[in-house]
């Protein structure tokens, strides 16, 4: 049909080959497949590239645009650096599932229609669940089941919405819409579940920290950011997203402040950062959408970097709780420095990628005259520095001396971290070349002296607040309840009470039936000669001639026919 090779297919073939191959050959596939994918991504021209018949529709598996290429680029790059980070430590099935998961994300990036989008969407749900399960612990298995249920539910809601849109508009095209009727609301809700929007945010911080040190690096990148891409494509300028985003931003900060587990702190801060993007998509101007796309790109890099540094700590020490960690800077200088670079980037510190991308979102809010939104986002920027920028490196690498003296990262993990740390700084110092790849042409200037000074004040005084308020932030051996408490505990308890009531009702009915049956049995035994005995006593227990039986049947039939005619 076409000589064009879909980029997602290359990564998928790589994922399939990881299983049967061994040794250096497998390593070669792990490292080369994402690079080939990256090359293929940049061969995709604008517009629909391939079409294929599917049922009664013509689907468009590959459609190019600057926005789509930008997301596919970062997904493929993430697969490469994640593969480099993981290939010597991760189990083969985790690597294979991680690559298939990444292939799903690349597939969503180029999906030209809703059917293709849905297929790749479900592929991601499936393989990301396997990545969670690869954590290998009973907790990982249980969290994986909860994760799968949530994403299958989200998939069904999305499917209901897509069916509705297709039936009512007659088109499977991906085009901007607003949440105005049942169909579009279902599509929006289905996507928002994957973005970890409220009220279903809890799955993210529940599942990601249970995965392996390498698995969480893959998980941090794809699901929420494909949701961001889908929102940019389908719901740009949908006003409800502004407040959904603000909620996510604040939710992430508060829960991360309460959290003790280092990787769970990072998981909550994913929700926080995706909140900035969702809010920008709600604003919906070209500047805002550029900001959302740019921030998603930068976010995957620094969040991957943060999870990598936390992953090295878990890999070397087997611990991830702040109460168990501390003082690791002594023996893990590289991991500490990389963790700090990631932490500064997520806090949008000047000279890091977070500053050059997130400030576009604030600027978009100002341009639209959304003063309250701007002020909340600015307060949240201070809060990011508080919960992720300082809290994460402080409690993991400094704080007290935990007595742990682990070795620094293995060479491949170190190389992956250095690549991402360099990119964080590169995009932070030279943002202009990066801006060329954004969906809309822009002459945005990130570095104005007044703005840099404002952010320096904002962030450094947040840092002061952190150290002055440290006594209020003593880590405790606790978790924080989220809305998933409703179904994990309340519904569960209500369900078991209901089951118990039903069981006792059922028991009563059963006893009743048993007494009736035994009395019926007595009657049957006495008068009809049924059951238990070989010797027949009653009328119906006798052995009859076939002729007599036929006669009786004939008589009964005649009676039936007669009554039928009479009535």
């Amino acid at each position: 049909m076409t000589e064009f090779l879909p980029p997602a297919l290359i990564l998928l073939v790589g994922a399939i080959l990881i299983g049967p191959l061994r040794g250096h050959l497998r390593s070669a596939v792990v490292l080369v497949a994402p690079l080939l994918t990256l090359w293929a991504v940049w061969q995709v021209p604008d517009g629909v590239v391939t079409t294929a018949p599917f049922l009664d529709y013509v689907i468009e598996p590959v459609e190019g645009s600057p926005l789509r290429r930008l997301f596919a680029t970062i997904f493929a790059l993430m697969a490469f650096v994640g593969g480099l980070y993981a290939f010597r430590q991760a189990k083969w099935y985790e690597l294979a599932a991680g690559y298939a998961y990444a292939a799903g994300a690349v597939g969503v990036s180029f999906a030209g229609d809703l059917i293709t989008l849905f297929i790749f969407w479900e592929m991601m749900a499936l393989f990301s669940t396997v990545v969670v399960w690869s954590g290998g612990t009973p907790a990982a298995r249980a969290a994986g089941v909860r994760y799968a249920i949530m994403h299958l539910l989200g998939g069904i809601i999305l499917k209901v919405g897509i069916e509705g849109v297709v039936v009512h508009t007659g088109s499977i095209d991906i085009q901007p819409m607003l949440a105005t009727n049942f169909d579009t609301w279902m599509v929006l809700i289905g996507i928002l579940i994957n973005a970890a929007a409220p009220p279903l945010s809890a799955w993210l911080a529940d599942a990601y920290p249970e995965s392996s040190p390498t698995g969480s690096v893959f998980l941090s990148a794809f699901t929420t950011k494909t949701a961001v891409l889908a929102l940019i494509l389908l719901f740009p300028g949908e006003p409800v997203l502004i407040w959904v985003g603000i909620y996510m931003v604040m939710y992430g900060i508060i829960y991360a402040l309460l959290e003790n587990d280092a990787r769970r702190i990072l998981a909550y801060s994913i929700v926080n950062q995706v909140g900035f993007m969702v809010c920008a998509i709600g604003i919906g101007t070209q500047m805002a959408l550029n900001g959302a796309a740019a921030h998603a790109f930068a976010h995957i890099i620094y969040k991957g970097l943060l999870f990598m540094s936390a992953g090295v700590v878990v890999y070397r020490t087997g611990k991830s709780k702040c109460t168990d960690l501390g003082g690791l800077f002594r023996t893990m200088p590289l991991t500490t420095i990389c963790g700090i670079i990631g932490a500064l980037s997520i806090s949008s510190f000047p000279l890091t990628s977070g500053f050059t991308t997130k400030s576009m979102i604030s600027e978009a809010a100002v341009d639209e005259g959304l003063v309250l939104v701007y002020m909340l986002l600015t307060a949240a920027s201070a809060g990011v520095f508080l919960h992720a920028g300082i809290k994460f490196p402080w409690f993991v690498f400094f704080q007290k001396d935990s007595g742990l003296r682990p070795k620094d990262a293995p060479w491949n993990m170190a190389a992956a971290m250095v690549i991402f740390a360099a990119l964080c700084i590169l995009i932070g110092i030279f943002p202009e070349p990066f801006y060329q790849f954004l969906p809309y042409a822009t002459d945005y200037v990130a570095y104005k002296p007044g703005k840099v000074l404002f952010y320096l004040q904002l962030l450094l005084f947040s840092g002061l607040a952190f150290f002055l308020l440290l006594p209020l932030m003593r880590r405790t051996l606790t978790i924080s309840l989220d809305l998933d408490w409703l179904w994990r505990v309340l519904f569960y308890r209500a369900g078991s009470v209901l089951l118990r009531v039903l069981a006792s009702i059922g028991g009563a009915i059963e006893t009743g039936i048993r007494t009736r049956v035994s009395s019926l049995r007595d009657v049957a035994r006495r008068y009809l000669g049924f059951v238990e005995s070989n010797r027949a006593h009653g009328i119906f227990a006798r052995t009859w001639q076939i002729g007599t039986t036929a006669l009786w049947i004939a008589i009964l039939l005649s009676v039936y026919v007669l009554t039928y005619f009479i009535s």
Binding site: G327, F329, R330, G450, Q457, F461, S462, L481
Partner: protein, 89 residues
């Protein structure tokens, strides 16, 4: 912070921590003082005032920590809460 005197790490010595605090205070003062020279563009009247970013950032963080503290009383549970919940039945 670590107070053990025999710690080999420079960063963990009380003297270095005191020095770092002094540098930190100096940098903080500098960012505010710099506003006398570099104009911060305001968007709604008061955000170009001297040290607005500093005060706003500081107060925002204090507010968030306090909100988290209060919510913590409501939301925090023992880390084995769900495991214990599963064993109830």
């Amino acid at each position: 912070m670590n107070d053990s005197q025999k710690d080999d790490a420079w960063l963990a010595r009380p003297a270095s921590i005191r020095l770092l605090w002094r540098v930190f205070w100096a940098v903080l003062a500098l960012t505010v003082a710099a506003q006398l020279v570099i104009k911060v563009k305001g968007y709604f009247g008061i955000d170009d005032w001297l040290a607005f970013g500093a005060v706003y950032g500081f107060l925002a963080c204090v507010a968030m920590v306090l909100v988290a503290k209060v919510l913590g009383y409501l939301l925090k549970r023992d880390e084995n809460y769900y495991a214990a919940e599963d064993e109830r039945d």
